[in-house]
Symmetry: C2
Amino acid sequence: MSILIKEVLLEHDIVDIYIENDSIRQVGTALSVPAQKTINGKGKAAIPGFVNGHTHAAMTLARGWGDDIPLEQWLHNRIWPYEAKLTEEDVYWGAKLSCLEMIKTGTTCFNDMYAFFHGTARAVEEMGLRATLSATLFDHFDENKAEAAKKQILQYFSEAQQYSDRITFSPGPHAIYTVSGKTLQWVRDFANDHHLRVHLHLAESRTEYNNAVQQFGLSPVRYLHQLGVLAPHLIIAHCLWLDDEEIQLLADHEVKVVHNPNSNLKLASGFQFKYEEMKQAGITVGIGTDGCASSNNLDMVEAAKTASLLQKGWRFDPTAMPAPEAFACATLNGAKVLGINAGKIAAGCLADLCLVDLNIPAFTPNFDFISNLMYAANSSCIDTVICNGQLLMENKHVPGEEEILTKAAAIAHNLMYR
Amino acid sequence: MSILIKEVLLEHDIVDIYIENDSIRQVGTALSVPAQKTINGKGKAAIPGFVNGHTHAAMTLARGWGDDIPLEQWLHNRIWPYEAKLTEEDVYWGAKLSCLEMIKTGTTCFNDMYAFFHGTARAVEEMGLRATLSATLFDHFDENKAEAAKKQILQYFSEAQQYSDRITFSPGPHAIYTVSGKTLQWVRDFANDHHLRVHLHLAESRTEYNNAVQQFGLSPVRYLHQLGVLAPHLIIAHCLWLDDEEIQLLADHEVKVVHNPNSNLKLASGFQFKYEEMKQAGITVGIGTDGCASSNNLDMVEAAKTASLLQKGWRFDPTAMPAPEAFACATLNGAKVLGINAGKIAAGCLADLCLVDLNIPAFTPNFDFISNLMYAANSSCIDTVICNGQLLMENKHVPGEEEILTKAAAIAHNLMYR
């Protein structure tokens, strides 16, 4: 397929964008290229699609199922009983709902971690998004469970070949308190052998930090360092509890970090994410939403805004994480975290992009488009979404969205009340 | 006019709502009342309109004009030179743009503070919203300026009679560092004589707190107490820097407080708003957005969400400010702050309400409507807005919105670059 977008705002210029197959081929003025589809970009701005650096897509089914209650109560009475009932079909519909929400809010690629790999993979395949899908891995420090978990990873890895290039498999060891050091080392070797990313929760709460010190005699990052698993392929979500020396360890090993500000606030995990220090150290920081059971939506515009406001707030510094940096974390940095050639609109990049409707109050006046996008707008400004060169949404409508809403709602209600 | 809304979700029930003239007359099931306009409420939820407790409407014209820069630079290089050029006509168009944005995001009433009272009043009158409009008052501790300011307040107060009941005049002494104690006392007496609210910025920044201690020998709240101006008619915006004794003083005098979380974060004024302590003390706490020069939008859904997340975050307590309380602060409490009979959907209340479109991902599944509204949705879920019994928006469209966007953008660009 080929798409030509005419006269759209890109940063400070009005340009044409020509897309062929999966890539952006030309960005320029007055392009005269024949295309199968032409889009009038007047009154719109083009932005790279957002990259959601950390989520659990299928958990959209548990949206609003246990807010405002203590963590232990939430896990024991709400989430675990619910997850025990889940089937691959449920995960498929939960992931479809998530893909729909992500498309509507301008996300073209996400980094997931969940069970029932094929449920999520089928949904992504059908919905047209790009994703790195981590199969969650637990061993609870039990050798038999570790063997079973590794076997499953090997199986999913081989089965993942059936999907298109938009889907990348990755192992997702859950956390250092649910996966043994030995298994983390096995995952490291497996990822090295097959050039995969590794997706891990780390240093999310003060409790996790204190328990690591007690259990391993080391803080979470130092423990990973001692295990020898810090590596450029490692993506760690949250990373709230660490000191300057640990930031340097992450930088030295080119570990990628994903900040999830709304989840961190909602679950009261911590709010002093050390963005400035990580940036200074040269760490690639992406932004994520986390799953909808903890943070309730998959909206990257909102996540990027919260990230920026929170930096300014707790540092008492109105210049912290300016809008262009928040935007970069949510787009280009996210692509770097996942190692994909996207996150910017330039010839040669993957054609993962959105058009923003400028004829709304949030962009009036429009002195600074990125500032308006990050601080004034919400994700309802997203009008058109293209992923891998395919048109997924036009005029704010995704084909089949009504059926997904109806079906996912029925499945979610059935799951909770059956 | 009479409006009958059929089969709409209200909290946990499906009801009909009958509106006549400016009020809600009946809420019940299967109402058979003839009405001039019938709205099908299926797939929608009814909520009271949001009450924006603190804003500077016309500053929408300066949206995105100087983000991410230090406060002094922002004031000296951006805001003051801009405000020096403003005319009443500019304020009128800025306020029209704000009213449009507020309608589109579900706000039916707001508490404003700005110059050129008639510019804002004309805009509100035409757009159909309800507002308490404070004319900003400064004397900079100069007796001549104080006399001029008082004269202007008297004049505006008398001229305000020309507007409809939707518009309430109030004096708006800017802050304790720009208005003398003597003038604050005059304002108190004037407000008492005429049963008006008084709208004041207070305890917004640590600098303001420290300066008050230095200049007056007292912290901001204690200084107001010493002046004898703490009163039930007093609405203070921000109120970030105070201790438990000061909270008790505010409670004892039934002072109203408006929290502006996004502005406080963006300007790095402070983030530890003492909501729980104020609630315990019995203080009525509303929520506001502040003006668009500091916080960039007038979106009360977003402001309420940030308020809730921030409480959980800095307190390390996921149960802090649960969704129903955040919602109440943004609706019913706001109405109490302004002393209007709105903020809930019940017979006898003013007909200030919205319909929410439930057929979107944010309300799928819909286990808990208020939780979804506060934590998952954004303001684009607002479908229909009724204020004072009049239909201001239906199917997300406000009559004349295109003209307002065009005109306000032209005025804003002209102002900045002329």
